[in-house]
């Protein structure tokens, strides 16, 4: 009897300890020509809480220019309900030498579970006045939209990556602009630019 109680308590403790939330958000990340640069990152503590990463402006010549960078992540761990929600916003964005511009870039990544269900989504993400290769994009950009950037490489717009097993863990990463830089002759990847990134996950 005592052994069974100890076993149950051990399993219960394990279940409680297994509950985690993660959250991360940032405005820009650039890895080009062997140089890596990143705007302030908001990283959620493993026990939950809140973190921010902000900058009035951020620029890497030829790669990205942006202003009003705001990254926020919040979350909490609870035995009945846990969640993490992360947002990243930038304004006056110009990427890849002006191949992509937008007035506002907004990334939202949410992950949660309650007593009976869990989930993750990127609802709320969007662009304001997005222009790609000189062409205005007036419709909502579908998740994981691929666009060629002549002389630069390619970009994935509204990149959404689901994580977790859907039973005990859920997660979402959103990269609103993910530029892959390629060598013009060989097509080899030479770097990348990520703009408007938000990630959230929960596990129980």
């Amino acid at each position: 009897m005592t052994t069974k109680i100890l076993l149950a308590l051990t399993l219960l403790a394990g279940a409680v300890q297994a509950q985690t939330v993660t959250g991360k958000a940032f405005g820009t990340y650039v890895n080009a020509a062997g140089v890596t640069s990143q705007s302030p990152v908001a990283t959620l503590p493993s026990s939950g809480g809140m973190a921010t990463g902000q900058a009035d402006a951020f620029g890497v010549a030829g790669a990205v220019d942006a202003s009003w960078l705001n990254a926020v992540t919040t979350g909490a761990v609870d035995d009945k309900k846990s969640g993490a929600q992360s947002t990243s916003e930038l304004e006056q964005v110009s990427a890849a030498g002006g191949a992509i511009t937008a007035d506002v870039v907004t990334a939202v990544a949410t992950a949660y579970f309650g007593q009976f269900t869990g989930g993750s989504d990127a609802t709320g993400t969007g662009f304001t006045n997005l222009v790609v290769n000189g062409v205005p994009v007036t419709e909502d950009v579908a998740p994981n939209t691929w666009v060629d950037l002549p002389g630069v490489g390619y970009a994935i717009l509204n990149e959404q990556i689901s994580t977790g097993n859907g039973l005990t863990s859920w997660g979402m990463t959103v990269n609103m602009i993910h530029v892959v830089l390629q060598d013009a002759l060989l097509g080899l990847t030479t770097g990348e630019i990520i703009i408007g990134s938000a990630s959230s996950s929960v596990a129980r």
Partner: protein
């Protein structure tokens, strides 16, 4: 017996007046702005409010106003706000002291200062007094912070109140809702078009 009954009626009348005053404060229209100085915000009368035995976290986006849906507004309008917060009551109650932080970013150029980023620090946490009064899924908190506008500079020690933040259901989109008042110059109230608000038991420091 009659004395007790009269006393109860009197207390009920006083409570009703306090609630009405609190609701009126929360719904006050925007006032004129004196250059460089923000007029005082809504009065944060803690009287009549109750200690809350939960904490709240949330983050996401609000587009539509006053519960008129939760679709994103057109990109050209820039009419939306994003936010993130954590708030909780202090360990002892009463009083209704609280702690936490909030970030609120308004993008509408027609709002105060041509839009702004607000960084607030929570100093009280209690139950709502507005239309969500008596809704156990909602919390109310406030304090002061820095208002960094796009066109009109920065204002310090600006009073704010999240009149209510409600964890209605999962997911938060289309369900949860929030109302914030900053100074006497801004308010936004709507259902989440992105993100989530969660109510949690009080445990630890987070």
């Amino acid at each position: 017996m009659n004395h007790a009954r009269h006393l109860s009626l009197a207390l009920a009348a006083i409570a009703a007046v306090l609630v009405a005053v609190a609701c009126h404060d929360a719904a006050s229209p925007q006032g004129p702005i004196t250059a460089g100085i923000l007029p005082p915000g809504p009065k944060h009368d803690k009287g009549g409010n109750q200690c809350a035995n939960f904490r709240l976290t949330g983050g996401g986006r609000v587009d539509q106003r006053d519960h008129l849906g939760y679709e994103k507004n057109t990109p050209e309008s820039h009419d939306f706000a994003t936010f993130g917060f954590q708030a909780r009551p202090s360990s002892s109650c009463p009083p209704t002291d609280g702690s936490g932080n909030i970030e609120w970013n308004e993008h509408n150029p027609d709002e105060f200062g041509g839009g702004f980023a607000f960084h607030g620090r929570v100093t009280y946490f209690t139950t709502p007094t507005d239309e969500t009064f008596d809704d156990s899924r909602c919390g109310r908190f406030g304090g002061s912070g820095r208002l960094n506008t796009r066109n009109d500079g920065t204002f310090e020690d600006v009073i704010f109140e999240v009149n209510h933040a409600c964890d209605v259901d999962e997911p938060g989109v289309g369900n949860d809702h929030i109302k914030i008042t900053i100074g006497d110059v801004y308010t936004r109230h709507g259902i989440l078009s992105g993100g989530n608000i969660q109510q949690h038991r009080l445990t630890g420091n987070n």
